[in-house]
């Protein structure tokens, strides 16, 4: 089963590389990176032929939650179950959409009570490098306060501001800016 998944993934990676080679405009996310250990769902792949494989040791199917819980930290963060909370321009208030994201994150953090996270505050490129460190910090702290208000223990939540140093989307347009104004969640311990 595992080997098969690997094979499938290798195909996916090959496909990705091929796609990446012709489509130069793909954002850095599509860079040929080490394959995620489990299901690369975002990529359209040919369905696997349902070929029965003889398995010497039958592995009991794992429930999905445990499957998430068993992933390595790096893998978890590459395809994080925790959603970013986005902010309005030059603001750090939690919008209704951000509330929904943070509530979903709180549910996951309740499900995995050993997880610890760092909340990164990020800004778009339109402010100054220096002041954006303060703005990013306030965004991270606002997200943290909201999670605490939902019952998540404060000692599980660290914050760090990256200002405008690490944009998620390059580009100088509203689409990129909106993606870069965020509180981003990184799982640091599980």
């Amino acid at each position: 089963m595992k080997r098969q998944t690997r094979l499938q993934l290798a195909m996916v990676v090959l496909l990705l590389v091929a796609v990446g080679a012709c489509a130069k405009k793909t954002p850095p996310v599509a860079r040929p990176a080490p394959p995620p250990a489990t299901g690369a769902t975002a990529v359209p792949t040919p369905p696997l032929p349902p070929e029965p494989v003889s398995e010497p040791v039958p592995v009991p199917p794992m429930p999905e939650e445990d499957e998430i819980g068993s992933r390595s930290l790096d893998d978890l963060n590459r395809e994080s179950p925790l959603q970013p909370a986005f902010f309005a321009y030059d603001a750090s208030e939690v919008t209704p959409a951000a509330q929904a994201a943070l509530q979903a994150n709180a549910a996951i953090l309740r499900k995995y009570p050993t997880w610890q996270v760092t909340i990164e505050g990020h800004c778009d490129e339109r402010g100054t490098a220096e002041y954006n460190l303060a703005l990013g910090e306030r965004r991270a702290l606002t997200a943290r306060d909201y999670l605490i208000s939902l019952g998540i223990a404060a000692d599980r939540l660290r914050t760090v501001s990256y200002g405008k140093e690490f944009p998620f989307e390059p580009g100088s347009n509203e689409g990129a800016w909106a993606k870069n104004r965020r509180a981003h969640f990184v799982i640091t311990a599980r």
């Binding site: 850095p28 996310v29 860079r31 990176a33 930290l73 790096d74 978890l76 963060n77 590459r78 760092t118 339109r126 402010g127 100054t128 490098a129 220096e130 002041y131 460190l133 303060a134 703005l135 910090e137 306030r138 702290l141 660290r158 760090v160 501001s161 990256y162 140093e165 690490f166 998620f168 990184v186």
Partner: protein
């Protein structure tokens, strides 16, 4: 204008002392200059109050050593650039006197040809090399009086010929114009030019490392090697250390790098997050921003981390401190009124006041004497421009005008120039500009470069 007029007043006594310097420092070889002070004064001022017109032909290299000949050319070109930078002399373009024959020796310039060109002064020199040691001579000649008015001699390593030119420029500015030049100062900044990636789960994060360069952008050299985010460097006044903000442990903390010893200090140890450190003018203290008490506030500590003291107390963000030239006040950015503005507070935490009323202002930098000005980046449209607030007059002027976005100004130690970042040439690069908005020079070209700071 004001500046020139003032300089004229100080010139007469200075000209007298220049002669003394020459005779004291170079007794045997130089033909002693006749002490006719009036003549020297004329040579220094040029025509009718105009700046003296100077020429710097290639230095002589009497030997056939190609390295010495290359040094002779480099030194003359760099010296011309250094003198041009302060705008105290009218520098005659070098290609207009390529045809004037080199003098056989330093004493015998073809003065008629130089007079014809309109030169008031002539800087000549020679380079001789023995093994790895070079000897460089420089003389300033008064073209009208056909006499030497200043001379220096240097010897040392052949490793960095530009340093000889920088030293000469600083000494010429000091002796002839009573000006503290900046030719031997350096810039520190942060750059992503290495294109290395930060280790971690998010692929597209590029490291930034701290670099230093000469004031003119030459000799760029990397200082940090920790492959994380290293930003906002600030020089110690002795030019031997840099304090900067590093994320090497996953959160921002102040590090002090002693660049000649290659040692590192962590003044705050594990005591919370800290950023944007700046050395006090005497080098004994560091002002910085930290969220250790809940949100970003301004703190001051001794260089070794002792004596920590909080200066601001407000739920708004207080960030980006800068010292006044005497170390008694600190300007910083606060958004306590809603938008980021520059404020001033005493280093004792008293006398808080607001300075700017812009839509958005950040990164104050306080000019040294004799000026009393604070430069900052102000939002002027989609991007930022550099503005300067004159504390005596209470007036603000603008020196960049919407070409790209212009941020992070830093004064030169003589208060006549600013380094800043601009996107006017495409990517984010470091430029220098004079306090009147003239003399723009691009100093970096590789990768993106940020948050310059000028050494003392």
């Amino acid at each position: 204008m004001m500046f020139h007029r003032r300089l004229h007043l100080v010139l007469a006594p200075l000209a007298a002392s220049a002669v003394l310097v020459v005779s004291a420092q170079q007794p045997p070889p130089a033909a002693p200059a006749p002490r006719q002070q009036s003549q020297i004064e004329i040579s220094l001022t040029g025509d009718a109050g105009a700046p003296p017109r100077l020429a710097v032909p290639d230095f002589l290299a009497p030997s056939d050593d190609p390295e010495a000949q290359e040094m002779a050319r480099t030194i003359a070109q760099v010296l011309w650039d250094d003198l041009q930078f302060e705008r105290e002399f009218y520098m005659i373009p070098r290609d207009t006197y390529r045809t004037i024959p080199a003098a056989p020796s330093l004493g015998e310039a073809p003065f008629d040809r130089w007079r014809e060109l309109g030169a008031d002064g002539l800087v000549v020199g020679s380079v001789s090399k023995t093994g790895n040691t070079v000897r460089v001579e420089m003389r300033l000649l008064n073209v009208r009086g056909r006499q030497q008015i200043y001379a220096r001699e240097y010897s040392g390593s052949a490793a960095n010929p530009r340093l000889y030119a920088h030293t000469m420029a600083d000494e010429l500015h000091q002796s002839q114009r009573a000006l503290r030049g900046v030719a031997r100062t350096r810039l520190a900044f942060s750059s992503d030019r290495n294109r290395e990636r930060v280790a971690g789960p998010i692929d597209n994060r590029e490291v930034k490392e701290i670099y230093v360069a000469d004031y003119d952008g030459a000799n760029q050299r990397r200082i940090t090697v920790n492959r994380s985010l290293n930003i906002m460097p600030s020089w110690s006044p002795d030019g031997r250390s840099l304090v900067y903000t590093s994320y090497r442990r996953g959160y921002p903390e102040l590090l002090i790098s002693n660049i000649f010893q290659g040692t590192l200090e962590t003044p705050l140890g594990d005591r919370g997050q800290s950023m944007l450190g700046v050395f006090s003018p005497d080098g004994t203290r560091i002002a910085f921003a930290s969220n250790r008490d809940g949100n970003s506030e301004i703190y001051v500590m001794n260089r070794d981390g002792s004596g920590l003291r909080r200066l601001t107390t407000h739920p708004g963000a207080d960030i980006t401190p800068t010292w006044s030239p005497t170390g008694t006040q600190i300007a910083f950015t606060s958004d306590r009124t809603g938008s980021p503005q520059v404020w001033i507070i005493g280093a004792d935490g008293l006398n808080l006041r607001r300075l700017t009323y812009e839509s958005y202002a950040d990164r104050a930098t306080w000019s040294p004497a004799p000026y009393n000005e604070i430069a900052f980046a102000a939002r002027t449209g989609p991007g930022f421009d550099i503005k300067i607030y004159n504390l005596a007059e209470g007036q603000t002027r603008q020196i960049t005008f919407g070409e790209g976005t212009n941020e992070s100004p830093a004064w030169s130690p003589n208060g006549r120039h600013l380094a800043f970042t601009s996107t006017r040439a495409g990517r984010t690069q470091i430029f220098s500009i004079d306090r009147d908005g003239r003399n723009l020079r691009q100093l970096t070209r590789e990768g993106n470069n940020f948050t310059p700071h000028w050494s003392q």
